[in-house]
Symmetry: none
Subunit: 258 residues, 2 copies
């Protein structure tokens, strides 16, 4: 049985990003699952990539590991991706983000892979993804697990979670009919985020509403706009003009006061 | 998200049988996946159950491992089961047996679990299930994997294969009633649209980019943000402050000029 529903190019549009993964065996297991299901693009986001180097030097290191790319931070690792999805254990409440079950998420990811790059982020074994890392995600995905009354919520082993996600992605045929938006690249959204932060400062919003102003919250606000490239451009144009006007007024203001 | 599609009793009717598993880590990983997805009945069929005893003495040995049952042979391990299914890598030709894909198999297994015990057999990491062991199976199940021309067929890691199988068994069909966000009321979006138009005018965006400025385009831009109530509020707050600042500067500007 081949993964006939997704073409080679589409499989190449999925990028698995392991954020601060600690255990070389887990990194190896993720690479193996990727190989099994036909995916090849692995990225490691880790300030201290020791475990990755250990995984790579392991005896049966696969071609996936050999081709893996290293980054220090999440924004660098996802800069060229159009849709960025974080994975999370369902027990952790992340009410700021929309959460889809894996099966629901796959319905969105598959068509997105046909038109652009999709990043799927897995956090460290112990802590998962931090709030800052999550703020780079458009939305979150969770693998439905068994809940027992009064028990702590299960969290899956990293290699197993990756295997289950990749299985689901190649499980069903792509609906060719579904029209998907072309999401803006993450780097574009990050520039827009910075611009909005500048506008919030220049307009004194940040000073007057400090409780509503922090970088993570602004980043999330921008990601949740689900912008495609042309709308990201439109917003960038508007905010640039607003910022220019606010700043030229400020210098005028300064001139007046002198 | 609970595994609502299968009831507790039915989950208990699935028995995972590990045949000649060698690596204690793999046995532990299978037990962990069973725990994650709500299954509890593990059996070990091994003439030399050393690896099982090692797995059981591991630090994080789960309740699943603690309750696991040991048998020397496959027929003993499946004696009380009504449906016995072997797992196999698809590349291995097992023409004597019907082979179903995992998704197809799950359609058969789920109802069978409602009426009797189902055994799902995984062979040893190196050799899989022997012909003799396979002869105890009603039919075989395979996880569809990626095939590359001329390459040897992939075979999955035992812990990952078990996780994928169990995920498929409790996988609920995608609900058409996808959990939808609570969209902001149209009136709220219209107020936001008017506010954005005011900002575009006050910042002179409308004068400098007339081709990008008309009411319909701005309304569409706001609707495409897919805002819920709280994010609509956030944007309203930001734009109000921006407008206030632009206008207070303008009046300052006017004052200066007079």
């Amino acid at each position: 049985m081949s993964t006939s529903s997704l073409r080679e190019r589409e499989l190449n549009n999925l990028i698995i990003v392991l954020v601060r993964a600690r255990d070389p065996n887990n990194i190896g297991a993720v690479a193996r699952a990727m190989h099994d299901f036909g995916f090849g693009r692995l990225r490691i986001a880790n300030e201290y990539p020791v475990s990755f180097q250990r995984a790579r030097s392991a005896v049966d290191a696969s071609s996936v590991l050999a081709a893996a790319e290293e980054y220090s931070t999440v924004p660098e690792a996802v800069a060229d991706c159009n849709l960025v999805i974080g994975t999370t254990a369902v027990g952790l409440r992340r009410q700021e983000h929309p959460i889809l079950t894996l099966a629901e998420a796959a319905e969105v990811i598959r068509p997105a892979m046909a038109s652009g790059r999709v990043a799927l982020l897995f956090g460290s074994e112990k802590t998962g993804l931090s709030n800052d890392e999550l703020s780079h995600c458009h939305w979150l995905l969770t693998i439905p697990m068994h809940q027992t009354e009064g028990m702590r919520h299960a969290s899956m082993n990293l290699g197993q979670a990756a295997a289950v996600c990749l299985y689901e992605l190649i499980r069903a045929p792509v609906s060719t009919a579904l029209q998907t938006p072309e999401y803006a690249a993450a780097a574009e959204l990050e520039r827009l985020t910075e611009l909005l932060i500048d506008v919030m400062k220049a307009s004194e919003y940040s000073r007057r509403h400090p409780a509503n102003f922090n970088e993570v919250m602004v980043r999330r606000l921008v990601r949740q706009m689900s912008l495609d490239h042309s709308r990201a451009l439109a917003w960038t144009g508007i905010l640039r003009q607003v910022l220019w006007k606010l700043e030229s007024n400020r210098s005028l203001d300064a001139t007046t006061k002198t």
